[in-house]
Symmetry: none
Subunit: 202 residues, 4 copies
DNA sequence: GATGAATGAGCGTTCATTCAT
DNA sequence: TATGAATGAACGCTCATTCAT
């Protein structure tokens, strides 16, 4: 009962949405879990939708901001990628309920909010893209499509995050991040073997 | 009115679920879209849930089977990865509505069906993992964690697929697949530069 | 498949109504049980209601007619009452499904049909009433309200019939009829004891 | 709006079920009649079924308890029978709607509840049976089957009650009860006339 | 502010009935 | 005559939201 009521409600909503899914969760469930009356929810949030959106907004904003801060921070491109990966995986591990909810997808959201989500996704992709472009500019990376690297990097992270959420197994975000970045930087081919032009189309 | 009624209904359901989301779509919407009476839906599918699950089952089974066939087919590991990427991106491009629906996530599905989905996901990851292991065994790839490669590979593909679905822009699956695989195989570092132990902390 | 189709349908409807109750029985159930197509039912009966009413009509008409025949037949009043009781109990025992259905009551019947039923009930009460009046007129019975005797007589029979239907136990209609009539004719008091005016207030 | 809402709803349900029959009555009808919203019904009763069962339970429990109290009370057997008859007929007259509903039969009830009803019926029959057995034991009645007397007694009462419900005519429960019991006690035969052995089978 | 009783729009599902074959 | 695929009106029930206290 110590945290301000608004936070208690958000936490209760997060838990409830996570457990039962957005549509199966009722406002009564949430009120019960928050230890407040049903009507009280509406003093702090105008609707069930708004509750969900607020959770998404707050959580994803923190996630995005964290990634952007690292992206625009100091260090080599490789170093920053590794930090971003560690941050993202650590975020998922530290916020399983939230991560699970996000994986349920943009269920029943207003079109407008879906666009905001898509924009956010773009901001994250952009952050990675810029790091990649930095790397290319600095000669740290070979010339490559920064956008493609962003998809592979983030896609890999989110796939791993999904596994973390589902398996409930312990993972070491830092170690996983190191391996992931190593794979992406060094590639799968053995050192010394060069790509043969046109090899892919043989 | 030519395609058999069951297919008309599935198609209508796919479209309606895709446009409005599972929960907002009503059986009446679907019936209208299929050009049949509401009761007719129940002659072919026992419930709204079943309709959704049938769509997922059919589509994802085809997707998974396609990937598995390539994975266990002939060709070098690199070659197979490229074909799988091309197949996956082509599948998403050719089935935008379905791909979009899948991205909505397992909304409101029975726990049992969620487990089936998760198992399917495992089968797909496994297919990639095996190709990766083949590559490592044949010396085509350096020693690496096949599971990690699977996450990076599939994560990258699904991230690109999401972009394809949203942007409605034209993409060339084959070309994108080539670039993607090239990046993963060769890595982001310039050729000749080797990973320096501890380089990430420069 | 030998009995004419109309009878097969009626029999199937009787069984199905009896097993599931009128509202829970579906026309499909009945068609299945009769071994005909659903549409065929409507060639013989205009509606589900009509099917039920026809069953009631046929069965109750036979019941009523049987009772009336005995009532207006030969024999002493006591003798006729005994025959009527035996007939009624035998009818219930021989037509359990039908008797059970009747005990479910006039479920969902049109007001018009309910009136017909009520009229039928009146005809049966009248038949007994006339026998009672005969008995009084002939000095076989003491002066009494024939209508009251009709209620007691039929009420007793129907209460016993309900027990027969529910218990599925074997009963001997003739013996039960004899006991029933004996009780009603001789009364519960020991022979020789006369009703003492005001005795009830002792 | 004065009686507590639960009672208003029960009353409205009783009336509506009585007028339209259980299956034709809709929850909306009932809500309208009770002057509350449709959803409100579900705050007090979990389902339409439950509403019906509650009506039956409450009413029949009162009826049964009343009869049992008289049966196990003081007084001669004859006296108690008369009081029970008066109570039963008075109950029907005072609760016409309820009595009519009961006569509709156990429509659409769960098998479990039907068994409860049947058990209740057994309790009532038993109450009468015990009074009859008392009478026999005390020499007040001649040796007779108490169960048979119970069927005749209750059957007669319920037949009369049905007439009361349908006719909407004024009846005097006490007087009718007196006549009924007199008939059953003294029998239909003129005083002094004894049953001739074998007469029934002549 | 806080509550929870009350509301009623909305939806999945059933099934008697129709009608093209 | 016989069929059963197709229909859509009808209804029980849920739950987000409101508002009197």
């Amino acid at each position: 009962m110590q945290p301000p009521k608004q936070d208690r409600i958000l936490q209760a909503a997060l838990t409830t949405f996570g457990q039962r899914g957005f549509h199966r969760a009722t406002m009564e469930d949430i009120a019960l879990s928050a230890g407040v009356g049903k009507g009280t929810l509406y003093l702090y949030f105008p609707s069930k939708q708004a509750l969900l959106e607020e959770i998404f907004r707050t959580g994803l904003e923190a996630y995005t901001t964290g990634l952007q801060a690292i992206a625009s921070g100091p260090g080599s491109a490789a170093r920053r990628l590794e930090e971003m990966a560690a941050f993202a995986l650590g975020f998922a591990a530290a916020n399983r309920e939230f991560a699970g909810l996000v994986q349920e997808g943009p269920v029943g959201m207003r079109e407008e909010f879906k666009r905001w989500l898509w924009g956010l996704r773009g901001r994250i992709l952009n952050a990675v893209r810029e790091v990649a472009a930095d790397g290319v500019g600095a000669g740290e990376f070979r010339p490559l499509d920064p956008g493609l690297l962003a998809h592979v990097f983030l896609g890999g992270i989110h796939s791993l995050a999904a596994a973390i959420v589902w398996d409930a197994a312990r993972h070491d975000p830092a170690a996983t991040a190191r391996s992931l970045v190593d794979l992406i930087l060094a590639g799968a081919r053995p050192p010394g073997r060069h790509a043969v032009p046109g090899a892919g189309a043989s």
